[in-house]
Symmetry: C2
Subunit: 204 residues, 2 copies
């Protein structure tokens, strides 16, 4: 049918990254309709491939969602690790992580929606995903906080796990609200306010 231009598109940008195209398309579709309301056919159309092609790259619709999460979470954690490895002050480390957190989500609204909304939409996903990436991220925050306690900049009587959750929760809420909000503001600067309150609250 409308196949004349397809070949060119194919050879220009998709040799080998058809999988990535499908992932990008799926992120968009999931973000707009929600995971359960998204048809595989919708994803295929958005990615400009046939329905069946999706199954050459992914075992199931669910695996697509998993892949979106896995890929981005791995990237984020790696980026976070790198970012803080030459820093000394734990407070500064946390500031950087927070900024990166909101920066990444703020840079791609569709991805943010999938992370803040769609991934939360089932206990099953929550448990699977939390086991994988969220837990690791929380652990990064916790370890950094503990380091701060050791160095003496954070109150020693606080439970580091809880402190990590407070920080994560606050950032998470910034992101969720940003998505829902109709107003159009930058997400990443919110990190400063959050860190101001948080660091003030936990400093020795």
């Amino acid at each position: 049918m409308a196949r004349p231009s397809k070949k060119r598109v194919s050879s220009r940008n998709s040799i080998g990254d058809k999988r990535a195209m499908i992932l990008r398309a799926a992120t968009r579709v999931f973000a707009r309709n929600g995971y359960f309301n998204s048809k595989v056919a919708d994803i295929a159309r958005a990615a400009e491939v046939a329905d069946g092609t999706v199954y050459l790259y992914f075992k199931s619709k669910e695996e697509i969602l998993h892949s979106i999460f896995d890929q981005n979470m791995a990237e984020a954690i790696a980026a976070g690790g790198q970012l803080i490895e030459n820093l000394d002050d734990p407070r500064e480390k946390l500031r950087r992580i927070a900024k990166l957190h909101l920066e990444r989500l703020g840079a791609d609204r569709d991805l943010a929606v999938v992370f803040q909304v769609e991934l939360r939409g089932s206990t099953k996903f929550m448990e699977e995903f939390s086991a994988a990436g969220f837990a690791e991220y929380l652990a990064l925050l916790r370890r950094t906080f503990e380091e701060g306690q050791r160095v003496g900049v954070f109150r020693k009587e606080l439970n580091a796990t809880v402190a990590a959750k407070i920080l994560f929760g606050a950032l998470d809420e910034m992101a969720t609200n940003w998505i829902i909000s109709k107003r159009n503001y930058k997400l990443e600067p919110m990190a400063d306010v959050v860190m101001d309150v948080f660091l003030n609250g936990v400093s020795a």
Copy 2:
């Protein structure tokens, strides 16, 4: 089939509250399987009524979810309002609200799952619901915070809306983590830690 005892049950406790029974059953079913994986037939079975009966009380499956939210949110906000009306210190007001927040969720794990997980599972729901209840709840936190700024106990340079979000996000994360966690701890005491850090962070 197993209908012998049904009539008695019916007349003992359900005259007029069959609707409530269905809501309670639905909360349990949604919490265990997720909204989209729950069949109306599951809810009916759990409520010990026929599939069709569900439709005598609710227009659709979606309306059941709405009703769960509306009812509980209204109750919570009312309870919160009452709780703080005779208090003066805005810090104490926030402490009480936070405690109530986690107390209510901690008292009913199924309800907590629906609130923390299922209700978040689609942008559509998020927007509808946020317009209604969440926004009102956030507004309650914000107004209380502003009061504290006026009285001079909270730092005046902080944006009250953001402060409210930080507090809400932190509490929300406590609840979400409590649900996911396999360990068995009390949710409500977490409010103290959160408020300790938060109040410390925002106090003038």
